[in-house]
């Protein structure tokens, strides 16, 4: 890869830069509480909440940085932030 003028590149180039490793807390869904309101998907600043065919959502841990906005905004407390431990 050579650098184009001013670094102009095809969109989506940050997909190769997986930022999930920055995370300290991981969001985890409790699907019994989830009412499919879609707020978590709308409010995620990193587009790391993906819709599933059954109407529920799941996290893309390759890019989720664990900011916790989804858990904070969830109206039914269906998202728990769990400490990442190896």
């Amino acid at each position: 890869m050579t650098i184009t003028l001013g670094g102009v590149c095809e969109p989506g180039s940050t997909l190769v830069n997986k930022t999930g490793g920055w995370r300290t807390f991981r969001p985890v869904f409790d699907y019994d509480k989830c009412i499919k309101c879609k707020l978590c998907e709308l409010l995620c600043p990193d587009m790391s909440v993906d819709a599933r065919d059954d109407g529920f959502f799941e996290f893309n841990y390759d890019f989720c940085k664990g900011c916790g906005i989804c858990a904070n905004e969830c109206p039914t407390d269906a998202i728990e932030m769990v400490l990442e431990e190896k």
């Binding site: 650098i3 003028l5 001013g6 670094g7 102009v8 590149c9 095809e10 969109p11 180039s13 940050t14």
Partner: protein, 404 residues
């Protein structure tokens, strides 16, 4: 080079320097103008907004913004979208743009901006020196300085040509001294629209911000590639050395006016003493050279048009036969007690075979008048250096001891 003064006289009109520049911007067919008014730049953007209101600049958007930071930020977007983009500012306004200037240059957007040079606060002062643009020297913008209003107008067209050259693609600060040039009325030839169309082809960048063909502009670069971005910018600056000369030569071919490319010289061939400077002070120096030459003093002038890229080679060749060189700076690097032109000229010669004493005078700060008598006193100091070497390397000029 020779100018055809006889034909020129017929075409001359008496206008304010700011109007001459605004008119030059108009005939360069910009697509977006974004600026915030600030003295002494105001008349340029007033004239431009009047042109827009009168429908004299087709296919052009004039953006009213709330600050200089917004003015230049808006042009990042417009230039990326393929619009020929222009702004003008000065002093505090230019300093407020500082952060974004790096972005414009790093993203290789050929924005042209007139800087109507003014002193910076504090203390607040609206008069001319060149501290504002000199303080932006490392932002990656080409920086040119005009000697008179005709050159300031003509430099506008040259600036677009240089900036948009595919080998360069760097933004340009086209500098003119505040009030001394921006507010003076003198005869100039306004740029002919058809000739400018011939001189300056339409802006066709390789990449455009376009929703139909999305691209990422201004992306992140990690330690793996950041160095190479800087290297490529420096390479573009190196290429600009030739482009600036070519732009001046091509301008001469079409318009018959020439002010030098990177530099210009006056009576330097056999000169023992060479005064070097940038901007309107050059005009005064020419008069001093004429007066002193008539008295038998072998003095000459080196006018530096391009401060960035710094024309080290051209300067070296111009001064190599002199016995002493005097750099005059309307700026100071505080803590070094030197002006930028002095420091950089000295620095660029250090590892060469040209070993001439160079002294520096910081002059005209905050609009202080620079009379011929001051310049003659500086030449007297230079003569002493020839006879007995350097005693003071760099100093303030006309310092009023009674105020200290």
């Amino acid at each position: 080079m020779k100018r055809n003064f006889e034909d020129d006289k017929e075409k001359m009109v008496v206008v304010e320097g700011s109007y001459a520049v605004a008119d030059a911007v108009k005939v360069c067919r910009p697509n977006v103008i974004s600026a915030y008014p600030i003295t002494p730049q105001t008349h340029i953007v007033e004239d431009l907004s009047q042109f827009i209101a009168d429908g004299e600049i087709p296919n052009c958007e004039y953006l009213n913004v709330e600050s200089e930071f917004s003015a230049i930020s808006a042009l990042v977007g417009s230039s990326a979208a393929g619009a020929r983009s222009y702004s003008a500012t000065t002093s505090q306004g230019l300093e407020l743009m500082h952060e974004v200037l790096f972005n414009v240059a790093g993203m290789r957007l050929p924005v042209v901006m007139t800087v109507v040079n003014r002193a910076v606060s504090a203390p607040i002062n609206i008069w001319n020196d060149q501290q504002d643009s000199i303080s932006q020297r490392d932002t990656g913008w080409i920086q040119l300085h005009a000697e008179d209003t005709q050159e300031a107008a003509d430099m506008t067209a040259q600036a677009f040509k240089i900036a948009e050259d595919p080998d360069v693609m760097l933004p340009v600060l086209a500098c003119m001294d505040g009030f001394i040039l921006s507010h003076v009325y003198e005869p100039v030839i306004l740029l002919d629209e058809d000739l400018v169309a011939e001189y300056l082809p339409p802006f066709e960048p390789k990449f455009k911000l376009d929703p139909k063909n999305p691209k990422t502009f201004g992306a992140f670069a990690d330690p793996h590639s950041y160095t190479e971005f800087r290297y490529l910018q420096q390479q573009a600056m190196n290429k600009a050395l030739k482009t600036i000369e070519d732009a001046a030569d091509e301008f001469y071919d079409l318009f018959g006016r020439h002010y030098g490319g990177l530099i210009d010289t006056y009576q330097t061939e056999d000169a023992d003493i060479i005064l070097m400077a940038m901007g309107s002070i050059v005009g005064t120096i020419k008069d001093v050279v004429d007066k002193l030459r008539a008295q038998g003093v072998k003095v000459g002038l080196l006018k530096v048009r391009s401060f960035r890229p710094f024309p080290a080679e051209a300067i070296k060749n111009a001064i190599k036969g002199a016995k002493v060189v005097v750099a005059l700076d309307k700026n100071i690097s505080l803590g070094l007690n030197e002006g930028a032109l002095f420091t950089e000229t000295k620095g660029s010669l250090y590892n060469t075979n040209v070993n001439i004493p160079i002294i520096g005078f910081m002059i005209g700060h905050g609009g202080r008048d620079i009379p011929m008598s001051t310049m003659e006193a500086i030449v007297d100091e230079a003569k002493k250096v020839i006879d007995s070497g350097i005693t003071v390397e760099s100093q303030f000029t006309d310092l009023k001891e009674e105020l200290l």
